[in-house]
Symmetry: C2
Subunit: 182 residues, 2 copies
């Protein structure tokens, strides 16, 4: 009897292999060969799940989006929702690294752009709801101000974890929310 | 008599060729061959100026830093200084694209990291001076809040110029400065 493999589970484990390759070598390191090796599969077997490199990358990014959405969905305060977007621990740091690498690559790879734009739109809409919850009737400019602040903090935490520590990120967000309320 | 070439001028024209390649194809597209072609030089001639790909990339990034510093130096208001950091026109947009590509690549290429960290430190110090100018004695957290806001706006303008327009960027910065003053 042939081994039964759950295709969705296999795809998820491949996506996580992509993550590890991205974190180690950047998106340049992602190829059918390197990902297959990382996932413990043959290149032929990997092609059964993903036909192109862009498909692999898109699936890994989609996994980031799904994970963030699931966590945001159960967060109960505005502060906690924002915390789920920030690289405050190893898991969220890995997501942020993949997000940054994917988003930067989308600048020059049109096949990745639609998903990057979708994640942008989701986060922009989320920031709109957060601002409305904290400061009902606030000006529209506050949505971009919060969203840019969050993405800047993510960027800094990814690039300079020694300067933009989890504690500093939390303090900045608390300061911003406190001021939005008033 | 052999042609006299100013080495500094040649290096700058090569760096600008790197920019064009980055904007078109990303940093993946940067090789001695592609940059030589873009600059109208032979690969051998290019190696006379830059021994490695990392040296070419570093020089292009250094050019961004030098240009931004020169403009910031002559800006007279806090608002104008911040404006020089934001991609409000084609020149500053190209700089921001190179900055993003370079900074992302530095995540996985240690040879680029020192210069990325230098540019981070310069901008952090600049934000410190801007906050002090606008709100003397403000809490330290305001420095990271301003810096993250600026980098988030740069990121958004590079990735979604349709949403994060120059007008919106200006409005967000004005709102933030107005609030820092009070």
């Amino acid at each position: 009897m042939p081994k039964v493999v759950d295709p969705e589970q296999r795809r998820a484990s491949v996506a996580e292999a992509v993550w590890r390759v991205v974190l180690r070598n950047g998106l340049d390191g992602v190829s059918v060969r390197t990902v297959a090796t990382e996932a413990g599969l043959s290149a032929g077997s990997l092609r059964h799940y993903f036909a192109t490199q862009a498909e692999v990358l898109t699936f890994a990014m989609q996994l980031v989006i799904d994970r963030v959405r699931a966590r945001v969905h159960v967060a109960t305060t505005v502060r906690d929702v924002i915390g789920e977007l920030l690289p405050l621990d190893a898991e969220r740091r890995a997501e942020a690294e993949v997000w940054l690498a994917f988003s930067t690559r989308a600048q020059v790879d049109p096949t990745l752009r639609a998903l990057r734009d979708t994640s942008y739109d989701l986060l922009e809409a989320l920031c709109g709801r957060l601002v409305e919850a904290v400061a009902p009737g606030a000006q529209d400019v506050e949505v971009e101000r919060l969203y840019a602040l969050i993405d800047g903090l993510v960027l800094h935490a990814v690039m300079r974890p020694d300067r933009a520590t989890p504690e500093l990120l939390r303090t900045v967000v608390d300061r911003h929310l406190e001021e939005l309320v008033h």
